[in-house]
Each structure stands twice: as structure tokens, then as C-alpha cells.
Assembly symmetry: C2
Homo-oligomer: 245 residues x 2
């Protein structure tokens, strides 16, 4: 967890978030007003957080990973724009002097970086992050991105790879990638990276067991040069083509 996020939490009065994520940081929330909500309550949660902040309360809205990667940062700004609020940049020094709504986005360690670090170094070269959730994005758009990323040999970091309401999209994605990459391309599933219940599986594109993947998983598919060695998944950047060791 980032030190900056811990400090922001320490100074906050109110913390809002998805229940599962708030439970992970319960230790940091002991003296706060904690407002937990469920999945698909993102719009309400952000509106509530904005409401508190507008009333001058020091409010933290918690996302997992990085709030700017499929997290809540964008939705907060979307809502502020829709409501025509005046959103100022947070400035530690000047804040006391300027009344109004100050916003700061605190970056974190994205889920795919946590997952990659457990596997080795699969994201060492150009990569694309694609969410398979078709809740807000049409499947044709997702399909086009998968196709383009696979064709241009990007490493792929797949978010929201599978859920009960859309069990088949990961298999569709796998088939698209297989059009451009050999079946033996390294691939991996990481569930609950750096949390209780952490689990990982190194395999190949052909061997990827879609049934092992859930909503809390990240799937990483290597590029044409990615290798698996001694249980480590690595995408070389090309140093050893140029330099000898």
C-alpha cells in the first residue's frame, strides 16, 4: 500500500468504499466514520462522498489498486462535471485559505502490477490493459481492442476477466488472442494478489483454465518473446540481445 494513501486516510474523517475493500484496511479506519456499500453502487457511493466533501468534511473514497485504473477517480469527476461543481486541485499548503471542494487523486499499486510482481516480470515490455466487463462497454469495442493488442504483440493484462453474469467472455477473448499467438504463449492467472487467499497459476494460452478465473482475478498473457523459466514468467526487453553477460 502507498504511504501517501495511508497518510490521507490518517487525516480523513469519513471513509467510503466497496465493503470488501474497506474490510482490507479495517485497521486504518478505527476512528473514522465508515460508509460501506455494495457492488453496482458506484454512482451512489461517489455522490455521497462528493456530498460530504462539499460540506467541508475531510473525506476519502477508497478504491482497490489504483483509483485511476478502473476505479472511482473518473466517476467522481464525471459526476462533478455533470453537476457543474467547481473542483479545485488539492494543495496541502493553500487548502486552508481557499474555501470550496478540493480533490486529490492518490495513485496506488494497480492490481496488474501486484499480480505481475508475483509472477516475475511479465509486463517488462509494451502492454495493454483491457477490461472484459461488458456492463458499460459494448463487447464489439472490447473485441476490437483485444484483436489489436494481440496482433501488435502487446503483453495483455486482462481485468474483470470473468463473472457469474458473463462466464463466457474470457474464453472468447482467449480465442481472439489465439488467432495471433501460438498456443504455447505463456499465460497466468493471479487471484487475490497480495491478499489472503492469494493464488496463482502459470500456464499457456492453450492451457489456460477459464474455470479457475473469477472476478477477483487478473489474467496476464505474454507476448511472442515471453518465457516461463523456473516458475518465473518474464517478458524480455531485449538487453541480452545487445549486451553479453
Amino acid at each position: 500500500m502507498a504511504l501517501e494513501a495511508i497518510r490521507a486516510l490518517e487525516s480523513a474523517e469519513i471513509a467510503l468504499g466497496y465493503k470488501t475493500y474497506l474490510d482490507l484496511i479495517a485497521d486504518l479506519l478505527r476512528d473514522k466514520i465508515v460508509i460501506a456499500s455494495g457492488m453496482r453502487k458506484e454512482v451512489e457511493r461517489c455522490q455521497e462522498a462528493i456530498g460530504y466533501a462539499l460540506r467541508g468534511r475531510n473525506t476519502v473514497l477508497v478504491s482497490s489498486g489504483d483509483a485511476g485504473i478502473y476505479g472511482m477517480a473518473g466517476l467522481v469527476l464525471d459526476i462533478c462535471r455533470k453537476k457543474q461543481l467547481n473542483v479545485m486541485e488539492w494543495d496541502d499548503e493553500g487548502r486552508g485559505g481557499t474555501p470550496g471542494f478540493h480533490l486529490r487523486i492518490i495513485p496506488g499499486i494497480p492490481a496488474f502490477n501486484a499480480a505481475a510482481s508475483l509472477l516475475g516480470a511479465p509486463l517488462m515490455h509494451d502492454f495493454a490493459a483491457v477490461s472484459l466487463s461488458d456492463h458499460l462497454t459494448p463487447w464489439q469495442v472490447i473485441e476490437k481492442r483485444l484483436w489489436a493488442a494481440a496482433e501488435a504483440d502487446f503483453v495483455l493484462a486482462i481485468y474483470n476477466p470473468r463473472s457469474r453474469s458473463r462466464p463466457d467472455l474470457l474464453e472468447k477473448a482467449r480465442q481472439i488472442i489465439l488467432r495471433h499467438r501460438p498456443p504455447e504463449t505463456p499465460a497466468a492467472i493471479v487471484r487475490q494478489a497480495m491478499r489472503e487467499g492469494q493464488w496463482k497459476c502459470l500456464t499457456t494460452l492453450a492451457g489456460l483454465d477459464v474455470g479457475e478465473v473469477d472476478m477477483q482475478s487478473v489474467v496476464i498473457v505474454g507476448n511472442l518473446r515471453t518465457y516461463i523459466w523456473q516458475g518465473w514468467m518474464v517478458t524480455p526487453r531485449g538487453y541480452l540481445d545487445k549486451y553479453s553477460v
Copy 2:
């Protein structure tokens, strides 16, 4: 900075890294053996770090951002593989019991997340990270990836966008992206994100001043839906198409 990285540094005996990055964390290195090296010394640096670790010294190799994103994690594993070393996973509990070389990759906040957080939420939807450095990657490969990412409407996070030895590649990249996106597409430059000398510029693809970009910058180009509002750059995920506020 991630708490896990701070803790690893605290317990380390030796820290190696690129001088500029070690200087940023000088406070954490006071009681360590510090071995700084220059740019283009990556292979020597990793070999030296591996050498110390093999001799049983608690060694930290420092990257900026996330060590697994254009950092040193992959090169360490490349070298270990080439030298046919036996690299075991670091295990806090079991380490004392198993002799040998134990490796742990500690994830961090990637530079593009730090940059994005200062701009607002430009990476809220599918994005591609592309390095423009043609030192280890042929320009044709980079060009193909830029083309594919631009065509499939990925947000683009451009690493190593420009250096003295290759001043023209960012302009070439901009021209490729302009084939697929309108000139008014939001774009941004962030230099030295979250460091002394931090500087950012919100602009458009047409207005992007390549001359302002250096090696320490990240350039972010929005997708077809990215907007700039009150000085914030945001890529909507689509919540407000579906839900009303």
C-alpha cells in the same frame, strides 16, 4: 512510495541503483552500502546485485516507479536464466531454512499512474503502455504498436517519449496517432511526477509541444471519449450513459 518497498529497504544491507533514483530516497539509505551507477549500466548493475545476493547479502536493486514496468525486474531474471542460477521465491517465513538465492519483486506505483493522478483520471478505460525507446526495440515494432493502439481507441501512456539521441520519435508517434484520432483529442505531458520540479501540461494532440518533452516525462493521449474539464483530464468509463445523477 509503497510501504512494502520501504520495509524491504529497511532490512537491506546493500542498495544498488541508477544514481538519480537513489538520490531520491537518500533518507532511507543512510546505514546501507550504496552502489550507484549511471545510465546504460543496467546489465552491470543487475549482475553486481545478483553477485551480492548470491553471497548471501540482503540486497535491494532500486527502480523508479514499478520495477516490473520498463524497470530492472526482467533483466535480473534474464541474467539469472542465462547464468543458469537457481532462483527461489522469497518467502518471509521459510527463508532462514533454505539456503540459496531468493528473489522478490516488490511492486510500486508506475510512473504513468503517478502522472495520471496529477491530471485527473485519464487511464480510467482500456489503455496501452508504449515505450518509444528504440535502443532495444526496432522502430517498426514500436510503430506497429502505436498504430494498433490508436486504431483500437486505447488511451496511450507513452514512456521514454524523447531523448537527445532520438528527438524525433515522439513527433512520428504523434503523426501516427493523428491518423486515427481527431486533432482536438486531449493529451498531456507530465514531467517529474511527484518529484521536485514536477510540471504538467494539458493540451490536445494537435497542440502537443514535443519540445517540452524530455526523458523524464510521460505523455498521455486520451481516447475518443476523453475530455478536459476545469483543468482535469478524464476518460469516462461510461457510468453516466447508464445511470442518472
